[in-house]
Symmetry: C2
DNA sequence: CTCACATTGTGAATCCATTCACAGATAGGT
DNA sequence: ACCTATCTGTGAATGGATTCACAATGTGAG
């Protein structure tokens, strides 16, 4: 019993899809753990996540987590193992750029939720929004971006400015050391290789949903 | 010159990814067309969409659109062709369930934008929000869902209610004839086969972004 | 203590989007 | 009118995630 968190190897490259599912598994497991569940089978977790049991086992294999035949996986140990991979024991500082309708909804939502990511600074070029505290997050004028990002050691940012501004904003953030972006603007960002971008393109999503409302198919 | 919109076959099944990119291409092309561009090469469109030229040509092949060597693709004809596939000449009626922070941001944004999808009804169980008009969209109490969805012939919906309510809401919408969902709640929905779900899971996206802020890799 | 069998861990097979690579086509130059 | 450079259209190759399928495991029943 020397190993509190049974991880074997995190050596190989974990696919992005797996990272996403691990986030989902953790959320589901936290809920189940709070409800008193101590052990879980791959098929149970799969059902909750709308995936296949083989998929779940493969994902856990990627992070080197091991269960036991007939008993399944220990819920709390699995949560700890996922924590070990996703949030390497430290909380991640995130910046928000663009405190508009969407930006404010995001700040409101992530205050006191998901404690492993924290919005430590927001930026807006509108003087009415800058130099205030919104939902517990200090809003700076965008001119101070470099200074604040450097001071706080921020390497991840959420972009919620209008489409026409997004590339300009991204360029400046990238220069200031941000390497990972969550982009809500309906454009694709050109960034130096090595940077990571996750596009949350609601307009495209709406078009897909509208398309399949007429078709019969399924994802 | 007898063919206004050169489409050959839409017979085969178009991958979801292609549908998504077509939406993006259309958005980019509308901008470029407004800027006066009449012809475009696959490598130019690819660059704007952050994709490869082969990808663009393959996508256009999927919808049977044809260009010409040395001249490339006719911008306005291509827009028309994409319109023909994505929004089959009719505008799609969409419902929104959950008029909270996120729901209101969405309604505000899609008023007078993307005219091929229209939010024709919103629902909320909070009596303070029901029976009002928010950003041009009538908000109904959720009890009237079946009646309104039927009357308006709505087959697509955006779910923006708290996670704990999402499955319940989805079940009821599905029974009322909705077959295509854009889900913002951080849970996976269980729906009858044949239904389409697009998850916009910001929490998972944030976790991915936080993860890659530490790693070096790229998607 | 032994046995039976549901479940895990994983190599191999499969599937499917993406990329390669090139034959075919054509606009523009001479 | 012909030639050339360059782009399109697409069959074939690639690559990587997912699924299959089964041997190994160890728990819980008797
Ligand atoms: N609201 C939605 O539901 C929704 C839906 C789909 C896409 N989006 C996208 O999300 C982004 C934000 O949408 P929104 O509705 O919040 O817009 P918004 O207009 O309400 O807010 C934009 C904010 O960005 C600020 N801003 C503009 N340029 C800036 C710059 N260069 N630097 C810093 N701040 C700047 C503005 O002052 C404003 O506060 C847009 O790209 C939009 O296309 C939003
Ligand atoms: N706001 C964000 O930035 C954000 C980020 C990530 C995820 N989400 C998800 O999006 C969803 C909405 O978020 P929000 O911030 O707008 O929440 P919110 O609490 O501001 O709004 C939720 C709305 O849904 C209504 N509602 C609740 N139960 C309902 C039911 N059964 N039928 C009809 N209406 C009902 C409530 O009255 C409220 O108006 C949530 O699932 C949340 O997890 C939001």
């Amino acid at each position: 019993m020397a190993e509190p968190i049974p991880i074997r190897q995190t050596a190989h490259r974990i696919p992005v899809q797996t990272i996403g599912r691990l986030s989902l598994y953790r959320r589901l497991l936290l809920e189940l753990s709070a409800g008193g569940m101590r052990q879980i089978y791959s098929h149970q977790l799969a059902s909750a996540a709308v995936a296949t049991p083989a998929q779940v086992r493969r994902d856990l294999m990627m992070i080197g987590f091991t269960g036991s035949p007939r008993k399944g996986y220990a819920v709390d140990e699995l949560i700890a193992a996922v924590n070990g991979v996703l949030a390497q024991s430290v909380e991640t500082s995130v910046a928000l750029v663009g405190v508009g309708n969407l930006g404010r909804a995001i700040l409101a939502y992530y205050t006191n939720r998901q404690p492993w990511v924290r919005f430590v600074a927001a930026f807006d070029r509108d003087p009415d929004k800058a130099n205030r505290i919104i939902h517990g997050c200090r809003v700076y004028p965008f001119e101070q971006a470099e200074e604040v990002l450097g001071r706080e050691g921020i390497r991840a940012a959420v972009i919620a400015v209008p489409a026409a501004e997004a590339q300009r904003v991204a360029d400046r953030l990238a220069l200031a050391g941000v390497r990972s972006f969550l982009n809500f603007a309906p454009v694709r960002l050109h960034l130096p290789t090595g940077a990571f971008v996750d596009d949350m393109d609601m307009s495209t999503a709406l078009d897909r949903v509208a398309y399949y409302a007429r078709q019969q198919r399924q994802t």
